[in-house]
Symmetry: C2
Subunit: 407 residues, 2 copies
């Protein structure tokens, strides 16, 4: 088999993620490597920690990268804190609630869930009731679940968790910097994200932030590798974490001043993660969220202007993705194919109960831009017309323009 030099087509990625990387992120990633204990490299690591503190709106010292995709960050946080038999409470309002449950099951935790219909979020009162009943060690949720486009409100739950001394973990991969996330103010003890949504980078690095409360708990499971252990390293009192790669105390000793060798840091991904955060900090986190709100609203009004119905409780829709019902008589996959292959624009399919019923259209990161929104709506109108759907001529683009003109 012979393969050619890589030359991907110029897609505009308007699905639920991954989306196009910001060109500045790719430029950062094209820099040559340096050694993992080079003072310049450890300097970059410290800068990356400081930058993500700003992204996460936190003072947490322990703000760092897990080397893997977003779900690597989820697994690291959960497998390090949950000992076999520990109780965890999880609201399931979409696919990623199932994923949290699945990861916690494998950590041998005792699972309790709050099930919510897809398209809704969970009510804080329900959470407090369940916490009183279950008395979990950890409450684990996603903030934005792209499978349903819903954004779970977190502030009240944070207060509830703190009141009941429950550790509060949230995966904010799909929502971070596209929607407000105030880690310290909302009493979050652990948050994990990925780069491939509103942060405008490629999948493959998972920024996490951890409160001192979380860290104090996982430090009880501290364990230094035999190959590099010295007399000063004592084993923690609690059972060892089930994974070496995802052992958070080890990651802390690698990112901290001790610089104990663990994995070899994924330097190129770190260059990218650092640049993603630099872009957001330059823009300002609040401005970045406002930009997602604006372009998300333009896309929402646009698809409605095409006469399409949207999915879920709009009061709780994420800024950066919208679920659009496939109109009757239209072949959803043919529309996606024509968008992709004729217009080089990707929109998303969906999972589980929504499969075949809705498309998901994203406006995130580098692609939360006016031209990307207008181009997508314009193409969608043409493709829908050819698929037999009577789209009002110019109705999508016009509705989006109105949002931009009203501001």
């Amino acid at each position: 088999m012979s393969s050619q030099i890589i030359n991907p087509p110029p897609r505009l990625l308007m699905g639920p993620g991954p989306i196009n990387a910001d060109p500045r992120v790719l430029q950062a990633m094209s820099n040559q490597l340096i050694g993992q204990y080079d003072p310049v490299m450890t300097g970059y690591m410290n800068e990356t920690m400081a930058l993500y503190r700003q992204v996460f709106k936190t003072q947490n010292q322990w703000t760092l990268l897990v080397d893997g995709t977003a779900r690597a960050g989820i697994e690291a946080v959960l497998v390090s804190i949950l000992e076999p038999g520990d109780k965890v409470l999880i609201p399931v309002f979409g696919r990623f609630g199932h994923l949290l449950r699945e990861i916690c099951e494998r950590a041998q935790a005792e699972i309790h869930t709050i099930e919510v219909e897809w398209g809704q979020v969970v009510d804080p009162e329900q959470v407090e009731q369940a916490i009183r009943k279950v008395r979990p060690k950890v409450f684990a949720t996603v903030q934005g679940d792209t499978s349903t486009t819903m954004l779970q409100p977190l502030q009240e739950i944070g207060e509830i968790c703190r009141r009941h001394e429950v550790l509060f973990y949230c995966d904010a991969t799909a929502s971070v910097v596209g929607n407000t996330l105030l880690v310290d103010e909302w009493h979050l003890d652990a948050v994990s994200v990925g780069l491939q949504k509103c942060l405008g980078g490629p999948s493959g690095s998972a920024p996490i932030t951890l409160s001192d409360r979380y860290v104090a708990e996982v430090r009880k499971r501290q364990h230094v590798e035999a190959g590099i252990r010295t007399a000063q390293h004592q084993a923690g009192e609690r059972p060892r974490i089930l994974s070496n790669y995802f052992d958070v105390p080890m990651l802390l000793d690698y990112w901290g001043e001790e610089r104990l060798n663990h994995h070899t840091e994924a330097t190129t991904m770190l260059y990218g993660a650092r640049e993603c955060a630099r872009l957001v900090v330059e823009e300002g986190v609040e401005n970045c969220v406002s930009r997602h709100e604006l372009h998300g609203r333009a896309m929402l009004q646009g698809v409605q202007g095409l006469g399409l119905q949207v999915f879920g409780d709009l009061k709780h829709k994420m800024n950066n993705v919208v679920g659009v019902y496939i109109p009757e008589g239209v072949n959803g996959e043919q529309v996606r194919q024509s968008m992709l292959l004729d217009f080089n624009i990707e929109i998303g399919t969906s999972f589980g109960p929504l499969h075949g019923k809705i498309w998901r259209i994203g406006t995130m990161g580098y692609n939360a831009r006016k031209d990307a929104v207008l181009t997508t709506l314009s193409a969608l109108e043409q493709v829908l017309r050819r698929a037999g759907y009577q789209a009002p001529a110019g109705g999508g683009v016009q509705a989006a323009f109105e949002v931009y003109e009203r501001g």
Copy 2:
């Protein structure tokens, strides 16, 4: 805190890895992203599988990437095959034997080791004796352990494992394409590597290859995520794998024709991993190994030409790294600092019992080049002289030239 655009110094990385990435790999990684189910993307995934079959000298269908650093590949292979209580036999002849043991302990396996002094390898007869006694499910070893520079011979062990129906796993991160590795001919059932050594890429992607025997075993632990499960998906008969991220059957369903959603593939790392393999296949795997043998020999003769003593059993030294005793009266860390900060050349320190006793100097991947070897030896001579060591003038470079002239 304000951070600057990334601008790493132009280091020549001559340690035990990571080393400089081949510029073609960085170019490949600077390409824009595409969606994870884009036909172009799944095409790249299939090409990557085919390319790594050539790198690994295997017909194994299941040859793919784990999204993480080299140790992510190790953990995926081991945690998927080892059920709690399963017996595993591990030779420990350096730091990475300890790491394998550590990972297997966390998988709750029953651990048996063969301990060998650092600087030696394990004798196949010892392995056969231990296998007869222990009757393990898995024999797990590293091929090249950079902590000692030793290369474990595998061929005879492969025959022994096959005869006793033991699954044979090897981590070849530090050795692959710098030393001969014949996956099928040597009866290896699972091999994992990383990009950051002789493959000339950045850390962050772990190519693995799996035999049908290995796959048949882990398929017994098959389990499809609740969020995407349908009636056709049946749970396997054996206990679920302890990790979701490292669940090999799930990775197979993602890389295979079923394309079941798991993680979001780390596209940029895949572009890089693909280009690493393309470079090796273009050069020819055997030619690539010969190049490492030549430049590794030039470096070995060079440091000896400087009057330095080398570490370990030279019959079993890896081609791509040499351990060099720090001469008496010389401050090893000062020499490394001067090499790094005055000459922009990185050489390695060492771990455990060798810490403070030897430097490790690598010649691998893009840096297995004549100019890199000569430049390093030339600088080392100057730095050693300033550190008070009486280096024979030109002795290192002259000895290396002799290797290149003799061929």
